[in-house]
């Protein structure tokens, strides 16, 4: 949790700040009075326990919780009702139902009175109702969920705010209260999580609460299955396509829809999510791990069609190999790489220069002359994919290799962490070709399918929910300023977010960051620390979690631990391990031969140290068994979210779980925050330490270190310098800023481009509707669907050619091309008779015309259009409209800011804020005026001298 901020509203002083009936003390009081039947005991309990929590003192309080004490009082005051109910749960249910009835009666009475006085009736759900229902829900889960956070933060969320709750602070409880609050206000709620595992976990934990709150219309939708509480799942494989579509339609019309983001995205793209039912006042998103929605799952998911047949697949792979070799040739063609391609890693941008493009084009022409069957256009696209993965894609940051004993699979970092969105098909294939020589036959060839459509989660949710999106997370207040700024831009600000501490404050003890020279030294350091913490003097003491981003390093650490410390229990947690656990259990279940079954079971037990069938998933196995004192868990990103490792034996008394991050800042500061908070869940003890090595740092960071930025201005020798003199905390903070900044830029581009596509489609739709006015609706919608398919296909091709998953400063060309498509399509094809419209012919036309129109052959250094291109634009009658488009957009911006009268101070501020250096200014201006850089060096030194003086 970030440091206190005056805008932060905390649960403990909520009562103090709110002087109206939305007052926590008042809620406690009212719930008490309604359920106990009198005020008796409340003041006493308030003075003993609650005043410390919600009053001035704000001290952590131990002892009886509100819910326990309330139950005790309820029993004492209503012994007969307790006897009659037969169980505590039933007793609570009865008392809550009785109390709610009274509340509803009072509400009805107030409404009638208001009506009689011609006053507007208040339809809002009252705080007391939320308070009682939360208690009911909480009690239904045997006290698993925290009442305090649930009632306060849940109500805030139900009213439309985001919530930032420390990890282990009872997010599930808050989701339930918030959902309840929204449903009672007649909303349909989509309660989402980042992964299928988390979504299922949330469904299982909350279902009893929902039932107790009488919300029975709840459904869990997973990609190929639909689950209603207490019923057999409906699965896609057992349905006909029509039945499945209908089943999804019904499921998506329930009051509470629970699902993971990936599932919703896939269904949205396939058009399986119906419009909001008219009975609901609005459709609302409550997103657990909400920062995932905004910041991680920005990568467009792909909707995939049929697999290519074997012959085509082999031909494509062969072509990709040729493309890869072409790029290798390109790299060795010139001693100065910048003459052939330009890359900007910060923006995720790479493209050929004019010379590079000519080289590739001439080589493709040569190859095509030798082999007439060669598809030159395809080879050109594949070569671009190869260039992209060769220059831009970095292992662990942009892709990961999930390894087990026999296989190595290329996946996206999100996929390695359990989310469903994977790398684009083209990138996967290009990486496969590139990495094959390193991994040999172990590397699994990704199956290639036709990409029908892609979309980002941000766009999908914007269409589904508009502004009705509430986020819940532990890392909405990221430690990085870059990410904070980005979230603020998305509307996630201090004012729209409810900040909520855990009941007793988080007990996580963060230990000083350690810096090593190499990764091997860092891993050794982590192992030594883990062993010393888990089993000091050979005694089982605490569980330890070592996290590293790379799955291969996970196994490296595991093997080293097993070899050097055979007495330590080591558990590994990676996606591959999880899949293998699931697969092995499935095989054992399916096996009918008893002998073979026994052999499989024995192998399973040997591998996982547990009998098959005891745990449904590896996730459950980890959570329930890995928290033993003396155990060392080694895992990658998959341990980051939703993994509550239950502390067993004396683990908590001995200090709880200790987390060691080996290689901090590999993905983002938020990911590391999540990992750290696997320790000290709820009120448990725990500690964490971040470590990093000089090998993890970028050349820029190393240069800063060398100059002395992190050593009190003492120059630092990277080979021999004393690492203890480096301010590791400041270095880590700077490393985080750098990592997060890159993500922010790339993410912004990706989302903006997706938005352009949506805007273009809306515009085409409007034109179709206007031009075909009066035609049958079926015809119009058929044309819209066709246009959509063509646009998506076209855009994805452009996107792949441009720079695929990572798009940088090619924004402008992309926007122009989308716009040109829009113009071309609407002008050339819409007015034709739909019955004569040949989709394939249109696509061929567009394919052949667009590249020449929009500059596929553009000069690599200068982006002005050639005479030929402009003539093509003119011939199509598009030149004016096209330029009018960009001009009008720019004019609109100018008009927007005009009259603001920018003065000297503003200009100065803009330059200072940009962080521009004198050196950079000089280089840019020299470039601009065409003067060689060296010529001005003496003058610059002279100017610098003047400035210093």
């Amino acid at each position: 949790m970030a440091e206190n901020n005056q805008n932060e509203v905390k649960i403990f002083n909520w009562a103090k700040e709110s002087q109206n009936d939305a007052n926590l003390k008042q809620i406690y009081h009212d719930v008490w009075v309604h359920l106990v039947g009198s005020e008796a005991g409340f003041n006493e309990f308030y003075n003993e326990c609650l005043s410390g929590r919600i009053g001035e003192k704000q001290e952590p309080v131990s002892g009886t919780s509100f819910q326990e004490r309330l139950l005790q009082e309820m029993k004492e005051h209503n012994p007969e009702a307790y006897e009659a109910a037969g169980s505590e749960k039933q007793f609570i249910k009865n008392k809550c139902a009785e109390a709610l009835k009274k509340v509803h009666e009072a509400q009805a009475e107030a409404e009638a009175k208001a009506k009689a006085n011609n006053e507007p009736a208040k339809k809002e759900v009252s705080n007391i109702e939320t308070g009682i229902e939360s208690y009911l829900g909480q009690a239904a889960t045997n006290g698993y969920l925290s009442y305090d956070t649930g009632v306060a933060a849940g109500k805030e969320m139900g009213d439309g705010k985001n919530a930032n709750v420390e990890c282990g602070g009872g997010k599930t409880s808050i989701c339930i209260t918030a959902t309840n609050h929204a449903v009672k206000n007649n909303c349909q709620v989509f309660l989402t999580s980042s992964t299928e595992n988390l979504s299922t976990q949330s469904f299982n934990e909350s279902i009893a609460s929902f039932e107790a709150m009488e919300i029975t219309s709840v459904v869990l939708i997973r990609r190929d299955a639909i689950l209603y509480p207490g019923k057999e799942p409906i699965t896609k494989e057992k349905c006909t396509p029509e039945q499945w579509k209908e089943a999804l339609r019904v499921a998506y019309s329930q009051k509470v829809v629970m699902a993971d983001n990936g599932t919703i995205l896939q269904h949205k793209m396939a058009g399986m999510i119906p419009e909001k039912d008219a009975d609901f006042s609005e459709r609302r998103l409550i997103a657990d791990e909400g920062d995932y929605v905004k910041l991680d799952q920005y990568h467009a998911a792909e909707m995939l069609g049929d697999e290519y047949d074997q012959e085509t697949a082999i031909a494509r792979l062969q072509s990709r190999k040729v493309a890869y070799e072409l790029i290798q040739e390109l790299k060795s063609h010139h001693s100065d790489a910048s003459a052939l391609y330009q890359a900007n890693d910060e923006n995720g941008y790479v493209d050929y220069t004019k010379a590079g493009r000519e080289f590739i084009a001439s080589r493709i022409r040569e190859l095509a002359a030798k082999d007439p069957t060669l598809n030159a256009q395809q080879l050109s696209e594949f070569a671009y994919d190869a260039l992209k993965v060769e220059i831009l894609y970095q292992k662990d940051r942009d892709y990961q290799i999930v390894v087990d004993e026999n296989h190595a699979t290329i996946v996206s970092p999100e996929r390695a962490s359990g989310a469903s969105i994977d790398l684009p098909q083209g990138v996967q294939q290009a990486l496969y070709v590139k990495l094959r020589k390193d991994y040999g036959k172990r590397l699994v060839r990704p199956q290639e399918r036709q990409v029908l459509k892609s979309m980002t989660i941000t766009t999908a949710y914007k269409e589904l929910f508009g502004d009705h999106q509430q986020l819940l997370s532990g890392t909405l207040d990221s430690p990085s300023k870059q990410t904070q700024d980005e979230l603020e831009k998305m509307g996630v600000t201090k004012n729209t977010t409810y900040y909520c501490d855990t009941l007793h404050g988080c007990k996580l003890q963060e230990q000083p960051t350690r810096l090593y020279r190499t990764n091997d030294e860092m891993f050794k350091g982590a192992i030594d620390e883990a062993v010393a913490t888990a089993k000091p003097d050979g005694q089982e003491h605490r569980p330890v979690l070592i996290n590293t981003v790379n799955a291969e390093d996970v196994y490296k650490i595991r093997n080293q631990l097993r070899t050097e410390h055979p007495d330590i229990r080591v558990v590994t947690y990676t996606l591959a391990e999880s899949e293998s656990f699931k697969q092995a259990q499935r095989e054992i279940e399916k096996e009918t031969n008893e002998e073979r079954k026994a052999a499989l079971s024995a192998a399973f037990e040997k591998k996982f140290d547990v009998k098959p069938g005891v745990f449904k998933s590896y996730d459950e196995f980890i959570k329930k068994t890995a928290g033993q004192p003396g155990t060392v868990i080694v895992g990658n990103g998959i341990v980051g979210r939703g993994t509550n490792i239950k502390l067993l034996g004396d683990a908590n008394e001995n200090g709880g779980l200790h987390v060691i991050i080996a290689g901090a800042g590999a993905c983002s500061s938020r990911d590391d925050e999540q990992i750290k908070h696997r320790a000290s869940r709820g009120q448990d003890n725990g500690s964490s330490r971040s470590t990093l090595s000089l090998e993890n740092l970028s050349p820029e960071m190393l240069a800063r270190l060398e100059k002395g930025e992190f050593t009190g201005n003492e120059p630092f020798d990277l080979q021999t310098g004393d690492l203890s003199k480096v301010d590791a905390e400041t270095l880590l903070a700077a490393h985080y800023e750098e990592v997060d900044a890159r993500q922010t830029i790339v993410r912004g581009n990706e989302n903006a481009i997706d938005q352009m596509r949506q805007d273009a489609m809306k515009s085409i739709e409007e034109r179709i509707k206007t031009q075909l006015q009066g035609k049958p609706e079926a015809e119009i919608s058929q044309r819209i669907v066709t246009a959509q398919a063509l646009l998506n296909y076209r855009v994805d091709t452009i996107k792949n050619r441009a720079s695929g998953n990572i798009l940088g400063s090619q924004h402008a060309e992309y926007a122009a091309e989308v716009r040109a498509f829009e113009m071309l399509y609407t002008q050339q094809y819409i007015s034709e008779d739909p019955s004569k419209f040949d989709e394939k012919a249109a696509m061929r036309d567009i394919e052949s015309i667009l590249p020449s129109v929009m500059g596929a052959e553009q000069d690599g250094n200068s982006q002005t259009y050639t005479e030929e291109q402009l003539r093509s634009l003119e011939n199509l009658g598009l030149a004016d409209t096209y330029f009018e488009f960009s001009q009008s957009q720019i004019e609109a911006i100018v008009t927007h800011f005009q009259g603001k009268s920018v003065g000297r101070e503003t200009l100065q501020q803009m330059v200072v804020d940009s962080g521009l250096t004198q050196d950079a200014t000089r280089k840019i201006m020299q470039q601009l005026s065409g003067q060689p850089v060296q010529e001005q060096t003496a003058r610059k030194q002279h100017q610098d001298q003047i400035v210093r003086e």
Partner: protein, 92 residues
């Protein structure tokens, strides 16, 4: 003149917008050739990614744009060398 890079063309587009917002007193001091240069070299089809909900001084600019602004400031808007040195001192 050599062909200028795409980044600088994009910067010209951005700088054009900022110059459009200059106060009249400052606008008068910048020669029309400078504005012509920006107009001529703006990247066709490039729409600067400005956030219209934010004031102009909060926009995230390309480094080249900032360089153009600082050059314009140094060359046309400073009254004397003292002011130039002071402005140069603001840069890192």
């Amino acid at each position: 003149m050599e062909k200028i890079s795409k980044q600088v063309q994009m910067a010209c587009s951005e700088c054009r917008i900022i110059c459009g917002c200059l106060g009249e007193d400052l606008k008068k001091r910048v020669p029309s050739e400078f504005f012509d240069f920006l107009n001529k070299n703006s990247l066709p089809g490039y729409v600067p990614n400005f956030d219209l909900s934010q004031p102009i001084e909060k926009q995230k600019l390309l480094p080249e744009t900032s360089a153009l602004i600082s050059a314009m400031y140094l060359k046309y808007l400073c009254d004397n060398d003292e002011e130039r040195l002071k402005f140069a001192g603001l840069l890192k």
